[in-house]
Amino acid sequence: MEKVVFKRPKYIKKVPFHYCPGCGHSIIHRLIAEVIEELDIGEKTICVPPAGCAVLAYDYFDIDMGEAPHGRGAALATGVKRILPDKMVFSYQGDGDIAAIGTAETIHAANRGENITVIFVNNSCYGMTGGQMAPTTLLGQNSTTTPGGRDKDRDGSPIDLSEMLAITKGAVYIERTAVNSIKNIIKTKKAIAKAFKVQMAGLGFSLVEILSPCPTNWKMSPVDACEWIDDGVMQTFPLKIVKDETS
């Protein structure tokens, strides 16, 4: 008897993604939808999508969504969670969104220990607007605003937002993962599930930073982009559990 071992998750609509070939966003969408299905929380989950490539995430998730202005994901999620404390509320943000314009909202939401989850997708550039330098762009990395590579003296060094948030008292669980290989994708799914469980247990602020390939703006093939996460991005942003106060 033949059985299905892998199919489209229940909470992802059957529509084509608008993302570029090899983009990590749609892998992360799928992992989130799988976790929601496995925890059976589809009817009580509210997602706050960002400004950026994932701005149209509400076209793909079959759950309740409320769009946030640029960078204000954590602030909007705070409001939703305080009004509806029984719901599972998570914001989905990119690195330009959370680490540049939304730094203040994110740090203070973590510091207050808001019982929300943040999915932080780090592709080390501004993807939607054409690959400009983001705060997380690596030293020496080419972007449209740093031709010839990011220079430490001129542009500053890449910011490690997860480490910054880890020193706040309210943050409970912060982990950095990636979606560039089978092993890392499975680890990412576990990290998302743990972050959601932290929120459901009412422990406090949880965040999963996910290193994601952006082949279009890195000007690489999708396979090369996945390899470059191993060789380049992980040298600056090593995968680890940054903070875990759940036990």
Binding site: E2, K3, V5, F6, K7, F17, Y19
Partner: protein, 79 residues
């Protein structure tokens, strides 16, 4: 008693495939190739080559291609 080998197969939705070929890079049996025909979007989609429905199939249904596929274009069957 002999253990019946577990065999699988995959179905690639060529309308959803954007031709990133990450599935090709992870398939341990190298059963996925680039199609010679364009799809609606204008990409050359990935194509599953194993047409054999018998017992000596190479595809084990490990689902690694589906796990890495960014466009959820692959469904995996086993048994």
């Amino acid at each position: 008693m002999t253990i019946k080998p577990k065999k699988g197969r995959i179905v690639i939705d060529s309308k959803l495939c954007k031709g990133c070929y990450l599935c090709m890079s992870v398939c341990p049996s190298e059963l996925i190739v680039i199609s010679t025909e364009l799809n609606e979007k204008g990409y050359y989609p990935a194509e599953f080559t194993e047409t054999n429905a018998g017992e000596d199939r190479k595809c084990t249904g490990c689902a690694m291609c589906a796990v890495i596929c960014p466009d959820i274009a692959i469904e995996v069957y086993r048994g």
